[in-house]
Amino acid sequence: MKKFRDLSKYARTNLKTYGLVIIAFAILFPLQSAGMLSNSLNGQLIPICVYIVLAISLNLTVGISGELSLGHAGFMSVGAFSGVIAAASLQDSVGSEPLRLVFVIIIGGIFAGIAGLLIGIPVLRLRGDYLAIVTLAFGEIIKNIINCLYVGIDGSGLHFSVTDTASLGMSGGRIILNGPQGAVGITKIASFTAGFVLILFTLFVVINLIYSRSGRAITAIRDNRIAAESVGISITKYKLTAFITSAALAGMAGALYAMNFSTIAAKKFDFNTSILILVFVVLGGMGNIMGSIIATTVLYILPEMLREIGDYRMLIYAIVLILVMLLTNSSRAKQMAVSLETKIKNIFRKLKNILRKNKNGSGEVTDNG
């Protein structure tokens, strides 16, 4: 077996990322089963998994493909609500809960992927801020449409309507989607293990995509579109690949997210949610998968940790966000960081020298003795 050090730099980073996730799960899962986690943390485990998947998938669009998307919550929403409808339809035919969850997540992913394809084909012709605004618009459109969608299920199958529940024309059965109220009466089947498996699946898909031929094409397009085009890389094809993969993964995360609540409304997946995911990605580092995972976990738990200071917590969150951006991006802060680093290094060097002298000194003593 190859030693860890002999592996390439990329392989090492990727193994570290997988390792981090697996270790975190290995620590948290027994604690959760034993009921040793606090209530707030216990309730957050699945949402954290969902947001980690969302952040990784958005990182594929924003970091790897270089397209600013402000509508990631829209794909999450598509996945969540198609997942809810699928779960209700499969409730009787698929008895086993984990199996049903797998179906629900896959269906959520497929529908979000289709939405990604439909949005992606026209939208990826646009560039920069225009692409951002169209994805934003898409997110708002999805939210609005789901807000006036009524879906019910009875013996004869699914019923759809855009006006009200009465026009569904149902004979018995039950309502799945109730307009602005959103999805009601969801059977909670999400589990922490499912979240963990979904993160591993996402990592597998994204990392394999990044380090494949397609992935290199995608980063080439990001770095220089014209140069990439001139060596024969099909811009549309590779951008769409990244965009659809990202959308489908977001849909899967959305489906898992919906299965964690008994009711869920479309307004949960608004512009602010998209921005939240984008903040995770940018703070974690663009194109850095492990960074996304860490940033998501820290930033998701931070407001909960700040709960003690009550009303001020979101204010503190905002200040932390601004300060982190200023410290990591401003040129003056970078200079300060560099000079600080050299100072600390100098101190360590001096310490080392002193230690070495002492060691040599003591060595001499023993030699003499």
Binding site: V62, A132, I141, I322
Partner: protein, 293 residues
């Protein structure tokens, strides 16, 4: 008659969007950044005006001036503290910082003024006009909003075309480094742009809350997003474009609300935006930039 009254309402709402969009478009044109905190400056402006009329008994017009002054200072301070250190950073870093500032303003407003909605009393002193024996009522707010919008538009156009500062702004937005070499103080010019944009936001906030009189810490965010799309719609960076985009957006919104569905009006609005951008990717009045290889 409903058609005409809808049209007037649309133009009036659109004028508010246009004034907000002017702030977005000027800042984008000069600093190449999406200032997401702009919508929250509107909210601050409305609160200041509300407080100065209710708590200090200031006459309405003076309250608008106070709001403008406060917002101008706020805009310049935000620019200096949060955006200036990031002048050379990636545009995404600046975007996230702007989002941070937006969160900050919303939550600061929540702490200072509470979450209970304030009912804003209109600052317009005269009554609505009733025409055709009461068939067509034009609200006084609509008249004032449209007139204000036109005046701002003319002044701003004169300012950027003729004034020394305006010329400096155009120069900086064209090429920042070259402008600096010509002796233009770019940092000061950018600060001035933020000052003007924020003063306009205060006016927009007061007008918006005169027409739709509920004021909460999140009042500014949705009009902010819509005005931003208006700016993109008209071609971001172009002042007449922001005007046209804003008014079109307002008219579309009111028409979609009254003729199709009030719930779907935003979806229709954004769908039209997407279609326009697909046909004309730089917006209605935006200049297509040729790509050099």
């Amino acid at each position: 008659m409903t058609l005409i009254s809808n049209l007037i309402n649309g133009i009036s709402l659109g004028s508010v969007y246009a004034i907000i969009a002017l702030g977005y478009t000027m800042v984008y044109g000069i600093a190449k950044m999406l200032n997401f905190a702009h919508g929250d400056v509107i909210m601050v402006g409305a609160y200041i005006s509300y407080l100065s009329t209710t708590a200090l008994n200031v006459p309405p017009l003076l309250s608008v001036l106070i709001a403008m002054v406060v917002c101008t200072v706020l805009g310049v301070v935000i620019e200096g503290l949060a955006y200036r250190p990031l002048r050379k950073a990636s545009s995404l870093a600046v975007l996230i910082t702007a989002i941070g500032v937006s969160y900050f303003l919303q939550n600061a407003a929540l702490l200072i003024w509470g979450s209970a909605p304030k009912s804003f009393s209109s600052i317009v002193p005269f009554d609505s006009i009733s025409l055709f024996g009461g068939d067509l009522i034009i609200t006084s707010e609509a008249i004032v909003t449209v007139i204000t919008c036109i005046v701002i538009m003319i002044l701003l156009n004169l300012f950027t075309k003729k004034g020394k500062m305006g010329k400096a702004m155009r120069a900086v937005s064209e090429d920042k480094d070259a402008a600096q070499l010509m002796g233009i103080n770019t940092n000061f010019t950018i600060s001035m742009t933020f000052a003007i944009g924020s003063a306009l936001a205060a006016v927009a906030g007061v007008l918006l809350c005169s027409a739709y009189p509920t004021l909460t810490p999140t009042t500014g965010s949705m009009p902010g997003i819509k005005a931003f799309t208006a700016a993109v719609f008209g071609g971001i960076g172009s002042i007449p474009g922001a005007m046209l985009g804003g008014i079109l957006l307002g008219v579309i919104e009111i028409f979609a609300t009254s003729y199709i569905s009030s719930q779907l009006s935003d979806a229709i609005l954004f769908a039209i935006l997407i279609i326009v951008l697909l046909v004309k990717p730089t917006g209605l009045l935006g200049k297509a930039v040729k790509e050099k290889v």
